[in-house]
Subunit: 101 residues, 2 copies
């Protein structure tokens, strides 16, 4: 019995936002680029390890970009890619249905 | 470290559509009420057991209703509840993002 083929766009999107905390991180980055520390301040119940793992996964999925800023002190900024920003409509639809229950 | 609280509407919606085949079953039922056999015809790669389990879960989640029709031969019809029909906007948003990649 073959699983719903990953070619199915709905399944692809569910995989992109899959994983605990993923949607919360995307929602924060929809407000704009953040440094790691700022994300930690915004998501206090998230450990540094989990946040690091999720950001790496989102980078691999092409949803988040990671940019090292020049100058001192060195800093890394996380931002949504174009695909990442397009997830706003998905999060809105998920939010609307969830609040309607 | 507490998980995203199930009160979060986005998490609630993700849970509602969670589970392999769930979105495919909902998409079929968006076309209208179906009998079990019709759903099996529409989703040939899905075993009867998996379809039965998923329909029961969707019933428990308040997304699908199950109605026993009077008359002969006895028949059972599955349909989306109002909450179920409201998932159309979610599936559309998931589809749009997935096809945009």
């Amino acid at each position: 019995m073959s699983a719903p083929h990953v070619a199915c766009p709905v399944e692809r999107t569910l995989r992109a936002v899959d994983g605990r905390w993923t949607t919360l991180i995307i929602r924060e980055l929809l407000r704009g680029p953040h440094r790691f520390g700022e994300l930690r301040d915004r998501l206090p119940t998230l450990s540094a390890k989990v946040l690091t793992d999720r950001l790496r996964t989102l980078e691999e999925r092409g949803i988040v970009s990671r940019t090292a800023l020049r100058g001192a002190p060195p800093a890394v900024v996380y931002a949504l890619t174009e695909d990442g920003r397009r997830l706003e409509a998905v999060l809105d639809a998920l939010w609307d249905w969830g609040t309607g229950r």
